[in-house]
């Protein structure tokens, strides 16, 4: 009875727990969303998802290399060279075995022949005679005559045998000599035949052996290096890093353009700047720290711009070494090794760029590879020259400082501090710096570090009333009320001569918030050229609450703190307040929204500070969690990206096979397939992962060049509420002059401009079609009625005349 009760309770308990799990699970599933054409949030899949655990500081071993001596940029390629060596030894054994086989076959026969001697006949005779003698002696021992005779015979036979043997030997020797001559001939013949080949093989063997030797030495070197790396790894594993001070501030990915397709950027190296640990970690694309930069050698003679006295070298840890000089702005120390050292102090960002420059004297193009580090604590930007042995001290493994951008004293007076936050450069190595508390815009410096101007400004708007009062106020009054600051930028990225920036929303003088120009695209002349042709202006969250509900972070417009642009001008921004990533195309259409900070999972963005495209993926640096979160595009985002890419180059529809009456064959995009059946049908099939055109069920080996519409249709199939997809399809119909369909899709996509364009063409078509018949009908009707009237009038007139005539009479 009791156990029954227990069972009941257990059942209830299990059901209760299960239902709680179910409830929690249901509540936790939060769907992605996007904004529709009216700016209303609607359900949508996320553009990027996190598929792997974020890279944490401890996982990446940030800081472990800081004081290690084992720093070298190396890639381990041992497996590759091992394979090559094996190949060579194989070849050499093959060659020798082959030669041995040939010789054995040819000479084996001759050596056998040499040893054959024929003497069987005589042996038989001797044996017979010996038997006769023995018989005779036995029969009649006294018949000596007979024995003697027999003995004589025997002796003569033996003599004959000896003579014969001698002759035979002689003969055999002759034969052997002859055969030897023959052998020599055969050998010569064989040699002659294979000499060329052997020579060739020998030469090959020789070169291969040389190559092998080289590779072996390389292999040995690599093995040595690998050992060094392994040692370093063991060191890294054992070294414990205190990351309590860590405060990641910036992540920069150095990309190079693909040789074939400039729309593709290939990531090369990552630069993770940490302002708390005073270091810049260089990571390879496999997320391995290859080098950590925190101190540099300072050599007065090697500075490109001689501003040695203005350079600061402090970091926040107390200084070691001998104080050499002190002046107003800086202190310099010799360290125990006897040279100046520059330590990073609260660095905020790193930036690397390779620029071309023409050497006038030699006429050759020189590539300058520079790494810029915003050394905010020292109020300067440290510039290093990479890939130049002159600026690298191999003994200590330290870079020698190439140039330092110090405070522009002609622009900023002593009350203002120069605290660089972010830096980018253009093709002419002009530097653009976002600095703290500089509200006039982005500071532009020349290559030599001379301040040029402010570019791209975030204006506040004054109300008419304020402008009126400001005009009346005296200067001292204005000074006292200068509380309206412009908003400064907080991130930027350089792409195709344009600087993309983000800033916080601007609070105007009258308290209104301008959230429409948080993202800017600044052209070389300083103007904002961001296309805002989407349904809503690119601004992060379109709908937001202005009141505090539960959490302060939920309040107000998005706080965009990072921006990144990929090879085809699609840009993503990250919102600090709600941890979301918004992706826009170059026209300003919102493509998708990803991320979020709800919940405490490791993949949520709680304090994003930097966002970078990593190929097609996105990396976000989270300051709070001290992680790098890798976002990968979802299925729909991949399709959207593909479509946008094709829209950019203007290929909207798929190129289909056409029959050319001129050649009498089928053509696909300038390729003659040679298929002659005019009535043939065509389709594409997937062959080895590629879509190939089949005409008349024959493989043409021509890959299908799909247009953007193909992808937009797939996007719309996945998400029927994706309005911008319909616009993409509409474009294709507009190009094909199918205006009715185009209108339909533009209406679905809520694009009024293009709807109007399509409709105008459609209307013109109808007018063109009906204009002549309507005009002709109208003219005929008018002419007819006129004619009818005149005829009627004439008849009436005649009648009247008659009547009047009668009346007259």
């Amino acid at each position: 009875m009791k156990s029954n009760n227990m069972n009941k309770y257990m059942k209830k308990l299990v059901i209760f727990t299960l239902s709680i799990f179910l409830f929690v699970g249901v509540v936790n599933v939060k769907a992605g969303y996007t904004y529709d054409s009216k700016g209303e949030p609607i359900y949508s899949t996320e553009g990027f998802t996190v598929n792997e655990l974020p890279y944490t500081y401890s996982g990446l071993n940030i800081g472990a290399l800081k004081n290690a001596d084992l720093d070298k940029f190396i890639e381990v390629t041992t497996a590759k060279s091992d394979a090559k060596a094996l190949e060579i030894s194989d070849l050499s054994t093959q060659v020798s075995e082959k030669n041995a086989a040939i010789l054995a076959n040819k000479y084996g026969l001759v050596d056998d022949y040499d040893t054959k001697i024929r003497n069987t006949d005589h042996d038989e005779m001797i044996a017979y005679l010996k038997a006769q003698i023995a018989a005779a002696e036995k029969e009649s021992p006294k018949d000596e005559a007979k024995i003697e005779e027999l003995n004589k015979n025997l002796a003569s036979t033996e003599e004959a045998k000896a003579a014969l043997k001698e002759a035979d030997i002689k003969k055999n020797k002759e034969a052997a000599a002859k055969l030897k001559d023959e052998k020599a001939l055969v050998v010569a013949e064989i040699d002659a035949l294979s000499a060329a080949k052997q020579e060739q093989l020998k030469a090959e063997l020789k070169t291969l052996r040389e190559a092998k030797a080289v590779l072996d030495s390389e292999l040995a070197a690599l093995k040595a290096e690998k050992k060094v790396l392994d040692d370093r790894n063991t060191v890294l594993e054992t070294r414990k890093v205190n990351i309590s001070k860590a405060s990641p501030s910036d992540l920069y990915i150095f990309n190079i353009e693909d040789e074939d397709d400039e729309n593709i950027l290939i990531p090369q190296e990552m630069y993770l700047t940490d302002s708390g640990m005073n270091l810049v970690s260089v990571l390879n694309t496999d997320f391995q720290v290859v080098k950590e930069l925190h101190k540099f050698r300072l050599d007065e003679d090697k500075l490109k711009v001689p501003n040695f006295s203005a350079i600061k070298t402090q970091d926040d840890s107390g200084k070691k070494g001998v104080l050499i000089e002190t002046n107003a702005s800086s202190q310099k120390f010799y360290n125990e090794n006897g040279y100046y050292e520059l330590d990073l102090f609260a660095p905020t960002a790193a930036y690397r760029s390779i620029t071309k420059t023409l050497d006038v004297t030699t006429g050759t193009l020189e590539y300058i590879d520079l790494l810029y580090i915003c050394d905010k604590g020292n109020n300067q930007v440290v510039i290093l020259k990479l890939n130049d042995p002159e600026y690298y001290d191999a003994n200590t493994g330290l870079y020698v400082v190439y140039q330092v951008l110090t405070k522009p004293t002609d622009e900023l007076d002593s009350t203002k501090e120069f605290a660089p936050q972010k830096i980018v450069t253009d093709d002419k190595r002009r530097m653009y710096v976002i600095a703290d508390n500089i509200t006039q815009g982005i500071m532009q410096f020349s290559e030599e570090g001379k301040f040029q101007r402010y570019t791209g400004k975030n204006d506040i708007t004054l109300s008419a009333w304020e402008i009126f009062w400001r005009n009346l106020a005296s200067e001292s009054q204005l000074d006292s009320q200068s509380s309206n600051y412009n908003t400064s930028f907080n991130s930027m990225v350089y792409s195709d001569a344009m600087i993309y920036t983000t800033s916080l929303a601007i609070t105007n003088a009258d308290g209104t918030i301008n959230d429409k120009i948080m993202i800017k695209r600044i052209n070389p002349s300083g103007g904002d050229t961001l296309a805002r042709n989407g349904y809503k202006v690119p601004m992060g969250d379109v709908k937001y609450s202005n009141t505090t509900d539960r959490d302060d972070s939920e309040k107000g417009p998005s706080q965009l703190v990072g921006i990144t642009v990929n090879g085809y001008q699609v840009y993503s921004v990250v919102d600090k307040s709600r941890g979301r990533i918004f992706t826009y195309d170059k026209e300003g259409n919102l493509l998708y929204i990803s991320g979020g900070n709800d919940g405490t999972q490791a993949d949520k963005l709680n304090g994003p500070v930097s966002i970078q495209y990593f190929g097609e993926d996105i990396l976000v640096l989270d300051q709070l969690n001290k992680t790098i979160v890798k976002f990968e595009p979802t299925e729909i985002a991949t399709l959207i990206n593909e479509a946008v890419k094709l829209d950019n180059v203007g290929r909207r529809s798929t190129i289909e096979p056409t029959f050319s009456p001129k050649t009498g064959t089928w053509w696909i995009d300038k390729v003659d397939t040679g298929i002659k059946n005019k009535e043939a049908t065509y389709e594409y099939k997937n062959v080895d992962g590629k879509d190939i055109w089949f005409i008349d069920n024959q493989n043409t080996n021509v890959e299908v060049q799909k247009g953007s519409t193909y992808y937009w249709e797939k996007v719309v199939a996945l998400n029927a509420n994706y309005e911008y997809g319909y616009v993409g399809i509409g474009h294709r119909y507009l190009e094909e002059e199918n205006f009715e369909e185009a209108m339909r899709y533009f209406e679905l996509g809520k694009n009024r401009v293009y709807y109007s364009k399509a409709y105008k063409q459609y209307r013109d078509g109808i007018i063109r079609q009906w204009f002549t018949p309507v005009l002709v009908t109208v003219v005929v009707l008018i002419a007819g009625s006129y004619a009818y009237k005149t005829i009627k009038n004439k008849k009436l007139g005649i009648k009247k005349e008659e009547e009047t005539g009668v009346g007259d009479e």
Binding site: K38, E747, R752, V753, Y755, S756, K757, Y759, K760, R763
Partner: protein, 237 residues
């Protein structure tokens, strides 16, 4: 047989007469008079009031037409000017929107003009306001047509037509008040100003009432829920 024919004939005649009357009603009362008022507002409203040419039936027809045209433009306005989701179309709401506005303005104007020595009574004010809808109905009707045949560049024409409708409405209302209440210009302007204020007060009062009602309802509902949930909890435990 003859009788049947007679009745048939008379039925036909009745229908015909009815149609004739309807035609006359439409042409004379619903089109000619309002157009005349629009063209000659002072004289028109004189006839409207003194000679009792204005009819309540016409006024109600205009109200119905306004509601109809509002609903039609909600649904059938061209895509270029129409951002509405058909799911949001609520005809009751549309009716309430038009009728409520007219009632509020009528009450506001009556209450103001009673204090300001206006000569018009409430029925006249109501009819006058309804007659003022005449240009608005035309403009919106035309707007539906235009918005469907114009491109975005030409939408200025549409805006002009709709704007003209509103302007003419105000124009008629202005002269209507002068004529109905036998006011001078300054008095008329003052009256309009106070009418607006009065209308706002009426709306405010309504909102206040609804808000209070809602709060009361919410309070009662909360108590109801509290009690039921408690019972539920007791049951579970």
């Amino acid at each position: 047989m003859e009788n049947v024919q007679n009745t048939k004939k008379s039925f036909f005649k009745v229908v015909l007469d009815g149609l004739k009357k309807l035609g006359k009603f439409i042409v004379d009362d619903c089109i000619k008079l309002p157009t005349y008022i629009l063209a000659h507002p002072l004289k028109g409203f004189e006839e409207f009031k003194r000679y009792k040419k204005g009819k309540m039936s016409v006024a109600l027809v205009f109200v119905v037409l306004t509601i109809l045209v509002n609903i039609l433009s909600f649904q059938y306005n061209g895509f270029l000017v129409n951002d509405n989701n058909l799911k949001d179309l609520n005809s009751i709401e549309q009716i309430a929107y038009v009728a409520g506005a007219i009632i509020v303005v009528t009450i506001a104007n009556w209450s103001v003009t009673t204090l300001f020595d206006g000569k018009g009574n409430m029925k006249e004010i109501f009819m006058m306001i309804c007659y003022c809808l005449y240009p608005f109905i035309w403009a919106n009707g035309l707007g539906i047509l235009l918005s469907n045949i114009l491109t975005e560049d030409e939408m200025a024409v549409y805006t002009l037509v709709i704007g003209l409708g509103v302007v003419l409405l105000c124009y008629m209302f202005f002269f209507g008040i002068i004529s109905i209440h036998e006011y001078g210009l300054v008095q008329c302007l003052l009256t309009i100003l106070f009418t607006i204020v009065a209308a706002l007060i009426v709306i405010f009062a309504c909102l206040l009432f609804f808000d209070l009602f809602q709060r009361m309802y919410g309070f009662v509902y909360t108590i109801y829920r509290e009690i039921t949930l408690r019972e539920l909890l007791v049951n579970i435990l």
